[in-house]
């Protein structure tokens, strides 16, 4: 069926409106980050900066310990990504290949991690960390980030492993591989797109995590980007240009990573439910 030229134009216009709305707040953040501290306080506000000033993207590194924030975020996001893959790959593989009693209970636990977010359990986590002496440590952020991303990773990889014919592994088993070797040599390479997707998704989720870090960390140079940037709001005179310069530096990499895994995202979020 060919649609009329008018319909195409109408869809294009509607699409442009949707796209513009999706980007508008970030554009506004960018325009504010490119203003001087004086111009930001102009009443009425200026739409475009009178003097484009991109120095805020550089001075934010010295105005606050931005490099420390970034380092913490990178440590926590990488650590939790590695952890979630280490526990998630074998779990997803076993779920995809074998039947066993207790499977339902395991799936129920998976569902629980998707429903109970760190924010709702943060007091329990806080008291658990005090008991184990984990307060103010990177591990205290890495562990829950991995746990709460485990469900996405396992759902997604389960789908990938299930779509790899077991006969491929059986061939490897006949040739004398162990189950583990069959997984590592045969199925893992085939599931690579899924593993990359799970890794990126977990990395972004940990990168954006806020409430646990806000509660658990007190040392200034351990704070991640989210907590560091949120502290701008506590000041009497909020430094909006630096706040948004820092936010945009934090947003751009995750948007690029998200675009890389775009086509697999829905699989991980809806797997196990709709086919």
């Amino acid at each position: 069926m060919r649609q009329s030229r008018r319909a195409t134009l109408l869809f294009l216009l509607a699409g442009l409106v949707v796209g513009a709305l999706a980007l508008a707040p970030y554009l506004q953040m960018f325009l504010t980050a490119a203003k001087t501290a004086n111009e930001v306080q102009a009443i009425p506000p200026t739409l475009l900066p009178e003097h484009w000033d991109f120095s805020n993207f550089l001075t934010v590194w010295t105005a606050v310990p931005f490099a420390d924030y970034l380092r913490s975020t990178l440590i926590v996001a990488s650590g939790s990504t590695v952890l979630v893959l280490l526990v998630g790959i074998p779990a997803a593989y076993y779920l995809a290949r074998f039947r066993f009693r207790g499977r339902r209970i395991y799936l129920l636990l998976m569902i629980m991690t998707q429903v109970f977010a760190p924010a709702s359990l943060v007091i329990g986590l806080f008291r658990e960390y005090i008991a184990f002496g984990l307060i103010d440590s990177y591990a205290a952020l890495i562990i829950p980030d991995a746990a709460f991303n485990a469900a996405f990773t396992i759902w997604l990889l389960h789908g990938f492993f299930a779509s790899i014919p077991p006969s491929l592994e059986e061939a490897a088993l006949i040739d004398g591989c162990s189950t583990l070797q069959a997984l590592v040599r045969v199925s893992l390479p085939l599931a690579m797109p899924g593993i990359v997707t799970a890794a990126i998704y977990s990395f972004i989720a940990a990168w954006n995590e806020f409430v646990v870090a806000l509660t658990i960390l007190s040392t200034e140079d351990k704070k991640p980007l989210t907590v560091g940037i949120s502290e701008f709001l506590g000041q009497f005179n909020v430094d909006w240009p630096h706040l948004f310069a820092g936010s945009l530096i934090a947003i751009v990499p995750v948007v690029i990573l998200f675009a890389v895994i775009e086509r697999y995202l829905v699989n991980g979020l809806t797997a196990g439910s709709v086919k």
Binding site: V87, P90, A150, P165, T179, N208, V211, L269, S273
Partner: protein, 315 residues
């Protein structure tokens, strides 16, 4: 998608000499393969719930010291707070109104992106930005846009003659809630669109053609073809959105930051303030957390219903 989930247990046992040597039960083997993830989830999700329940029954002093069992005293204190009912009402209406709007808007955007027109791919990518960006930072962007003196919203609306004088969007009781809902919808529509789009694309073209050939009109196609195919996707997106919104601590935390009292708080920000901000009463905050966990348990049940575990197991 075709899935090959043969029961390989029997096959491999028969064929592989190695497997026949090691005769562990599938449950014992499952424990090895699933164990690490189980430990992680038990330690970070299940055990904190146990601690929450325990803390809610103890009196915890200001320094965090546990002064022992006090029964339901924390719950009695919590339930006698005049703020509790408004907070729960805020939460329920916030989640319900947002989810409704998100589903309607998400459906329209998904239908749009399911059509053919230029730049469609670019618009899909633009939708990724609010989804990928940290909710915290997006909320701060909106806080700035809503700002009474410096924000962009007031001059734009004044230029369009929609308002006559600037409005303090986040500082006025009547406008706080709609402003919050707008940000909530903004950050949630992209995910919803992607899920519903996946649903729309799962409808076989022949089915739609057959309906049209049989003389179905636009609304009939929507009602008898599109909707039944979309139903599982709609259910899933609605439940996941409800869960995420309930848990969206940073949204309310940032937008409500300069307002005093609890009148605009939702369940999670109220709990957080009781624990770390205003009351500094861990016992009462833990009692509130237990209330939150019970609300979320309802979501677990809802989620299991849309997931239909018997299908999940076959998947």
């Amino acid at each position: 998608m075709t899935r090959f989930v043969a029961d390989t247990r029997r096959d491999t046992k028969a064929r592989s000499p190695r497997l026949s040597r090691v005769r562990r039960s599938p449950e014992a083997r499952a424990l090895i393969w699933l164990g690490p993830s189980l430990i992680l989830i038990l330690g970070v999700v299940v055990y904190p719930i146990v601690i929450l329940v325990q803390t809610s029954l103890d009196r915890i002093n200001l320094t965090g010291l546990d002064k022992g069992f006090v029964g339901f005293a924390n719950f009695q204190k919590l339930f006698s707070q005049p703020d509790l009912v408004p907070v729960l009402w805020n939460t329920a209406s916030w989640v319900a109104v947002s989810v409704t709007l998100i589903m309607v808007l998400g459906f329209f955007v998904a239908e749009l992106l399911n059509q053919r027109f230029p730049f469609r791919k670019a618009i899909r990518l633009a939708l990724l930005v609010p989804w990928a960006a940290s909710v915290l930072m997006t909320a701060m962007g909106f806080r700035w846009i809503y700002s009474f003196y410096y924000g962009a919203l007031n001059p734009v609306l004044q230029a369009l003659h929609l308002i006559s004088s600037p409005v303090d969007w986040l500082g006025t009781d009547a406008t706080f809630f709609p402003s919050l809902v707008i940000v909530t919808v903004f950050v949630s529509v992209p995910f919803t669109t992607y899920v519903l789009l996946a649903g729309l694309q799962s409808i076989p073209g022949e089915v739609l053609e057959a309906a049209v050939i049989d003389g179905a009109g636009r609304t009939q196609v929507a009602r008898f073809v599109t909707l039944p195919f979309l139903r599982p996707y709609i259910g899933l997106a609605a439940v996941l959105n409800a869960i995420w919104i309930f848990n969206s601590f940073p949204l309310v935390y940032i937008l409500n930051k300069s307002n005093p009292g609890y009148s605009h708080d939702v369940a999670l920000t109220y709990m957080y303030k009781l624990a770390f901000d205003t009351a500094l009463d861990m016992g009462e905050a833990a009692a509130m957390s237990v209330v939150n966990v019970m609300i979320l348990t309802v979501f677990v049940i809802l989620y299991m219903r849309v997931l239909r575990p018997e299908d999940a197991e076959a998947a």
